[in-house]
């Protein structure tokens, strides 16, 4: 990666609040071309909110976001048109077949030679036999494959993946992993959110660990480890565990303050 290159993704003081609940504290982030950047954290840490803000699916409560030179708050459609998104839990439309859904997405994304591209990705994901089955009748893993194919079909240089392999079998996990690594080698950039730490070790060249909507640590996988014997799981528990202890002690001190006020 060239240091002087302008980043592809940049957010300044990006934050999200729902009522009184802060889902994501203000954060600044930059991701450069050719990076495989992973954000890891426990359930409910704010990972999906993070990715939805960067991809224009959510409006931030504070801050600015720019992706590929496009203001993601002002023109989220243009951001979506030029990136690929794999959501965590969304399925393809229930009453369309995989073929129809991919054709629809390809048309919206101005893909050329739609038929051959659709054929290619159906074949790549082993969905040939299910091509005319409505998505509601597919298994979870098959629906996930359709969502992955929909994100890959226009070959975007920048991909945002939220728990992309959650329902895939080990064969397709490996196949997708390899495709994503090749994609980065070819100049692509990937922003990934997950709680599966194995993915960080196998794929990411940089990572961040977040919890309770805050960044706890960031760096290379190696850099986050205190010593050679420490596993990434140890790092995760060390950081997140401490963070939970901090939260509990904050809560306890708040409660004791309230008690003393009442007295």
């Amino acid at each position: 990666m060239v240091e002087s290159e302008a980043p592809l993704v940049m957010a300044k003081d990006m934050a999200k609040k729902y009522g009184d609940f802060i889902a994501l504290h203000p954060l600044n982030v930059e991701v450069h071309s050719g990076e495989f950047f992973g954000v890891f954290g426990p359930n409910g840490a704010g990972k999906s909110t993070f990715i939805k803000l960067l991809t224009g699916q959510l409006r931030p409560s504070k801050g600015q976001i720019e992706v590929l030179g496009v203001d993601a708050v002002r023109d989220p459609q243009k951001v979506k048109a030029n990136i690929g998104i794999v959501p965590e839990s969304e399925s393809p439309p229930s009453f369309l077949t995989p073929t129809e859904f991919l054709e629809f997405v390809a048309r919206l994304r101005r893909v050329e030679e739609i038929e051959s591209k659709v054929e290619h990705w159906l074949d790549w994901f082993g969905l040939d036999e299910k091509r005319d089955t409505m998505c509601k009748d597919l298994s979870k893993g098959q629906r996930q494959k359709v969502m992955l194919a929909a994100a890959f079909i226009h070959k975007p240089k920048l991909l945002f993946l939220d728990e992309p392999f959650a329902n895939l079998d080990p064969i397709y996990q490996r196949k997708c992993r390899q495709w994503l690594l090749d994609h980065v080698k070819d100049g692509g950039t990937i922003f990934l959110c997950s709680h599966v730490l194995e993915m960080a070790e196998r794929m990411c060249n940089r990572m961040a660990i977040i919890n309770d909507g805050r960044v706890l640590a960031a760096g290379t996988v190696k850099g986050l480890k205190q010593d050679q014997n420490e596993t990434l799981e140890d790092v995760f528990i060390r950081l997140v565990g401490r963070s939970i202890e901090d939260l509990e002690s904050d809560k306890a001190s708040q409660e004791s303050e309230e008690d003393s006020e009442e007295e």
């Binding site: 302008a6 600044n28 409006r59 048109a81 030029n82 998104i85 009453f95």
Partner: protein, 567 residues
């Protein structure tokens, strides 16, 4: 912390200024990648519309089988054909009638009104696309996902997706409802030549009737779409919108605003001017466009912490015993409040009643051509039950219940109870206010019995026939036949019997004309014994409806006992 390459750092909430306004380019670049502009306008509409149309067809077929989907338009055609033949007994200026047009009969104008008004009401109920779109977005991570939620991920403006949905629904209703109705009219005219049956309807009026009905349907869908879009924008629309509707409804009822301005289709059918028809159709599309332009690209699914609501509600439902039903009813009420649907549903239930009340306040119905009285409103209220129950079934996906020791009939029963608890107080207040307004206190106890019997019966029948998927049953002929027989016949009976409390010369005229065709013997005239018989008849029907409701309640297990939880 700062890293070479990717950097990421958190800050405290209070250290950062409010606002999301851009202060110029932040310095990112596409690194030589040629950026595509997202599809807009016609291109994105056409890419979406056809796929949505296909999706709608599959959604309808999923519940009903293909055969039933075909049967539904056939059923409509048949009913309309019979109605077309029967027109000769209703119209005041046809050759089949007596010459005395002073007698109370329907004019063509009144019949056209009777065609367009229910169609407008139906389309107003079906056109709240902003609510439907919001539900699709909120539930997109659930077990079912629809194209209407596609803008969240794809480069498709939410407004275009909603507009495509509006046009798709309009086309679908034209195809499955309006066109079969016109085909039925054509069949009725054909029967005239084959069997010597008389109908005053002429071939030349069919294209205009079809076009006029499309305009009324489009108008209702577009207006409801606009209303829901404004409602989704929050205050002040959520306050002034319902008030404006009530004022408008009352003004129409009083004749301050002409029917031509309200029912565009009726105006088009009466005038038959191509330019006016084109303008009216264009107006519907324009309202739809404005409504869709009001839809914003907001895909937020609120993550808000709430105070415990389930146990307090559960505790208040002690009268339901300690069984599963009480638990489910409590859960349904939590859904109703948390989803915000309670406001929408209460407003949409109360607004038409307020319009009627406003009209009653300002108009003496005794002067009306049809002798409407307090007892006429009571069965009318029952019809609202279908919509309310339908909404209750789409509040939340029930599929998680498949893993719990519960059965579908229990959930259905719980929804019927929720409907009754949530709406009965509105109906009761309405009927009492109406009694006060019309000064018909003596009819009040009977009206209350008739009203509750109807409400319970309609919802019990809807629930029994359609289970957890009433919205998808609408095109299922086998269900709709039973629904029609089960609702229209008893309710029409009650409605007509209610007129025995007023001027019954209308019946007299019908019987007289029917007797001339050899179908009946003598005319019936107004007297006191008929008033008493009418009262008794209404009470008897109401008691029968209550028994029927109890029977349906029992039979729920047989019909839905083995079904899986799915909506």
């Amino acid at each position: 912390m700062s890293l070479p390459g990717a950097t990421i750092v958190s800050r405290d909430w209070n250290d950062v200024a409010e606002g999301t306004a851009s202060t110029g380019s932040m310095g990112t670049s596409a690194q030589g990648q040629i950026l595509h502009e997202p599809l807009r306008g016609w291109a994105s509409f056409s890419a979406t519309f056809l796929v949505m149309f296909k999706e709608e067809g599959r959604k309808s077929i999923e519940f009903a089988k293909k055969r039933q989907i075909v049967l539904f338009p056939l059923l409509l055609t048949l009913i309309t054909a019979l109605t077309t033949v029967g027109l000769q007994f209703l119209v005041g200026d046809s050759s089949a009638q007596v010459a005395d047009i002073e007698q109370k009969t329907f004019t063509w104008g009144e019949l056209r009104f009777a065609l367009h008004l229910p169609l407008l009401m139906f389309s107003l109920g079906m056109g709240t696309f902003a609510f439907i779109g919001h539900d699709a977005i909120v539930h997109r991570a659930g077990t079912k996902n629809y194209l209407l939620a596609a803008p969240a991920l794809q480069p498709l403006p939410n407004s275009v997706a909603h507009f495509a949905y509006f046009i798709k629904d309009l086309c679908f209703y034209v195809m499955l409802i309006l066109s079969p109705v016109i085909a039925g009219m054509a069949l009725g005219i054909l029967l005239e030549t084959v069997n010597g049956v008389n109908t005053p309807l002429e071939w030349s009026s069919l294209p205009w009737t079809w076009l006029a009905m499309i305009i009324t349907l489009g108008q209702g869908l577009a207006v409801a779409f606009l209303g829901s879009s404004l409602w989704m924008r929050g205050r002040p629309f959520t306050i002034f919108g319902p008030i404006a509707i009530v004022v408008f409804g009352v003004a129409v009822g009083l004749g301050e605003i002409g029917l031509d301005g309200v029912l565009w289709g009726l105006y088009v059918q009466s005038n038959q001017t191509p330019l006016v028809a084109a303008a009216a159709l264009g107006g519907c599309v324009a309202i739809g466009l404005v409504a869709s332009a009001l839809i914003i690209d907001d895909f937020d699914v609120s993550v808000v912490q709430r105070e415990e609501m389930f146990v307090p509600i559960y505790n208040k439902l002690g009268f339901l015993g300690d069984g599963e039903i009480r638990l489910i009813v409590a859960k349904e009420f939590v859904d109703l409040f948390r989803s915000g649907s309670i406001k929408k549903m209460t407003v949409s239930y109360a607004v038409p009643l307020l319009v009627l009340l406003g009209m009653a306040w300002l108009v003496d119905f005794a002067e009306a051509p049809i002798p409407i009285n307090l007892l006429s409103y009571a069965p009318f209220l029952g019809f609202f039950g279908f919509n309310f129950y339908s909404w209750l079934t789409i509040l939340d996906s029930p599929e998680f219940m498949n893993g719990l020791p519960l059965r579908v009939p229990q959930l259905i029963r719980a929804k019927v109870i929720v409907y009754f608890l949530a709406t009965s107080w509105i109906s009761l207040i309405f009927i009492v206010l109406m009694a006060w307004q019309l000064d018909e206190w003596t009819s009040l106890p009977t009206s209350i019995i008739v009203m509750f019997a109807n409400s319970i019966y309609i919802v019990a029948l809807t629930a029994f026939l359609m289970g957890l998927r009433p919205n998808k049953a609408i095109f299922d002929a086998s269900i709709m036949i039973w629904f029609w027989i089960g609702t229209v016949l008893p309710l029409l009976g009650l409605f007509l019997l209610s007129f025995t409390q007023g001027d019954v010369s209308l019946y007299g005229n019908w019987w007289e004309r029917a007797s001339q065709d050899g179908l009946a013997a003598t005319a019936t005239m107004y007297d006191q014994s008929m008033v008493e018989q009418g009262y008794k008849g209404m009470l008897a029907i109401s008691v029968c409806l209550l028994f029927a409701s109890a029977l349906l309640w029992k039979l729920m297990d047989r019909r839905w006992g083995k079904a899986e939880f799915s909506n």
